[in-house]
């Protein structure tokens, strides 16, 4: 049933439950972006390494999880084994490929990691076939949670909870542990950390594999909704790059806020921009312009940040 327009403004009446749903969708997208971008930003910040194939970890994580779920029937086992698997993949990529390139220029990083995307996409095609892989959810997660008049899908709430949990764990890791201290030091001044005699190779390996695991985790979380498919990470990774730029390279805190802002902006503009535009222009123009404009919005935000604050919103302390 279409909602009758508000009699005072003539605009569509605010549908609060839709707004809350869209808000949660934005939060969900933001947290997934954070899982991808936090690894990326650390790898940029600490190793000065541009990893285009970070989106491949997102995809491989989903496929690992789906395979284990198909074998064991347990979603939890899928997540646990998937995380271990993608951590190992990340470590192997770091040890045998990325490590050889830290000293070469960025063009080499782009080329090799672009090659890795081709390799990973084709390997997934070889191993799992061209069709996507659906991941069934256990019954408990398939239901809905009712809060008052509000009905929320359990699984979406779980994604949000997991995203917040990982963010909290990462915060504790970065701010409260010795490893985190080294990570922060590395993001601020890599040369000094090396000069102080820290085993820099081990630090790089852990950061890279941890980043891969977080990207893989994001893939596992989204796959039951979208299903795992070849190249699923290739579009979202660009948005994750935008998050890294907006937040400030090397800053996990920046990645967190930027991911939430961009996730929210993207989701809400897709559903409400046409309504907003109708305030200024005829309905048919608004409905043509809105999708194109909402597709541009996050990039315009990025351009604005670069123009006024090139170091990002929250650059790591003491970064050059």
């Amino acid at each position: 049933v279409p909602i009758p327009p508000d009699f005072r403004t003539g605009l569509p009446r605010m549908d609060w439950s839709l707004l809350i749903t869209q808000f949660l969708n934005g939060l969900q997208l933001g947290l997934l972006l954070f899982l991808l971008a936090s690894g990326l930003t650390l790898i940029f910040g600490i190793m000065d390494f541009i990893n285009l194939s970070h989106g491949s970890f997102y995809m491989i994580g989903a496929y690992f999880c789906g395979t284990v779920v198909a074998l064991t029937g347990s979603f939890l086992a899928g997540i646990v084994f998937g995380l271990v698997g993608i951590f190992i993949v990340g470590a192997v990529v770091e040890r045998f490929i990325a490590r050889r390139l830290y000293r070469s220029d960025h063009l080499d990083h782009v080329l090799v990691t672009f090659g890795l995307i081709l390799i990973f996409d084709t390997l997934v095609h070889l191993l799992w076939g061209a069709q996507g892989m659906a991941i069934p959810l256990p019954d408990i997660l398939n239901g809905q949670i009712e809060i008052g008049t509000l009905v929320l899908p359990t699984y979406r709430v779980l994604i949000i909870a997991c995203g917040l949990l990982v963010a909290a764990l990462l915060y504790v890791l970065v701010v409260r542990t010795r490893l985190g201290m080294l990570i922060r030091a590395g993001a601020s001044n890599r040369t000094m950390v090396e000069a102080l005699g820290v085993n820099i190779n081990r630090l790089y390996l852990i950061v890279f594999a941890l980043g891969a695991a977080m990207a893989g985790f994001a893939g596992m979380l989204i796959a039951p909704i979208t299903e795992a498919s070849i190249g699923m990470g290739n579009d979202i990774i660009i948005v994750a790059f935008v998050v890294v730029i907006v937040g400030g390279i090397g800053s996990v805190k920046g990645a967190f806020y930027a991911a939430l802002i961009l996730g929210m902006l993207d989701t809400l503009s897709r559903s409400y921009l046409d309504v907003v535009l109708q305030l200024f222009m005829p309905v048919n123009y608004a409905e043509t312009a809105a999708p194109a404009l909402s597709a541009m919005l996050i990039y315009v935000l990025m351009a604005a940040v670069l123009a006024f604050r090139p170091q990002g919103l929250f650059p790591p302390a003491g970064a050059k």
Partner: protein, 322 residues
């Protein structure tokens, strides 16, 4: 007679290649192989785009991971006017150069304020923005693409309606862009561009406003790439946002690298090698991307200098004898 030949072995090979490309349509026509003429046309269109990318990437050190956006802009500057029944070729070319140049001016002005990793990611992000805009334009087909029913109209002697006419359009644009870039990099302008790739501070200390030079170079390259897009739109007769998705930009960089970064003919040779390899491997197996990926990784780790680099030893041997 040898006085008229190019001096080094590699430049003789390149000269022979150009002659070969000039007569190729007749040879292929005689052999009755229209498929290979199509393949060659597509390859040379890509070569123009790759040559334009090499101008900023090879000579200027600006690693743009969004150059395919300009191919898309050029192609849609044919497709959208054609959708409204405007078929004038000059209009298409002027639109492509204007729109491509303007987009490059705006995005370049922002992205050239940054360097290194930032520049790579920002060019990629802006190209993805254009990609998503065209993906959301339902009027022009969105992801289903847009069919161009007739080629751009030019005076009879310039007509691109026949396969042969289009081929010589492409070949001429390619020759002109090679000549243009040759003159450009050997002129004052090019020296500043190459200089600021290696040491921007020194160029600034010498009194050059390197930002302006780099921006001008970026815009020129984008305009040339937009022309390649016009040719692609005419050649393919069908365009979709996919031609400007960022993996396409990655492939363009790949082609520059195979041939040899920052050399005049490297991009042309690299593109031809890429297109032939793609054709050959994709006929062989559906998993040909795997071979491409491995090749790319090995090329970076071990094969410095691309094909032009491999020809280097031949030149030096020639010098010894001389």
């Amino acid at each position: 007679v040898t006085r008229w030949l190019p001096k080094t072995v590699s430049s003789r090979i390149y000269a022979a290649l150009l002659v070969l490309l000039a007569v190729a349509p007749f040879v292929l026509g005689w052999l009755d192989q229209p498929f290979y003429l199509d393949l060659l046309s597509r390859g040379l269109i890509l070569a123009i785009a790759v040559v334009s990318l090499n101008l900023i990437l090879g000579y200027g050190g600006m690693v743009s991971l969004g150059h395919a956006a300009y191919i898309g802009i050029g192609a849609y500057c044919v497709g959208i006017p054609a959708y409204y029944d405007y078929y004038s070729g000059w209009l298409h070319l002027a639109l492509a150069i204007g729109v491509g140049g303007l987009f490059a001016l705006i995005t370049g002005a922002i992205s050239l304020r940054t360097r290194g990793v930032y520049f790579i990611m920002i060019t990629m992000a802006f190209s993805q923005m254009i990609f998503f805009i065209f993906l959301s334009l339902e009027e022009y087909g969105a992801d289903d693409g847009l069919v161009i029913y007739a080629r751009s109209e030019f005076p009879d002697w310039l007509s691109m309606d026949s396969a042969l006419g289009l081929y010589y359009w492409i070949f001429t644009v390619l020759l002109l862009s090679l000549f243009f870039i040759h003159r450009l990099v050997h002129a004052h302008f090019g020296r500043v561009i190459v200089g600021s790739k290696f040491n921007e501070q020194r160029m600034q200390a010498l009194g050059f406003n390197t930002y302006r030079y780099r921006l001008a170079c970026y815009v020129l390259s984008a305009m040339l790439c937009s022309v390649a897009g016009v040719l692609l739109g005419n050649f393919a007769g069908f365009i979709s946002p996919d031609i400007m998705s960022w993996p396409r930009s990655g492939e363009l960089i790949f082609m520059v690298i195979i041939g040899g970064v920052g050399t005049l003919f490297g991009p042309l040779v690299g593109t031809i090698a890429f297109v032939l390899l793609e054709e050959f491997l994709s006929a062989l197996t559906v998993y040909w991307h795997l071979i491409f990926g491995i090749l790319l990784v090995l090329l970076v780790l071990y094969g410095k200098g691309g094909i032009h680099g491999w020809l280097g030893p031949l030149d030096r041997r020639g010098e010894d004898h001389g």
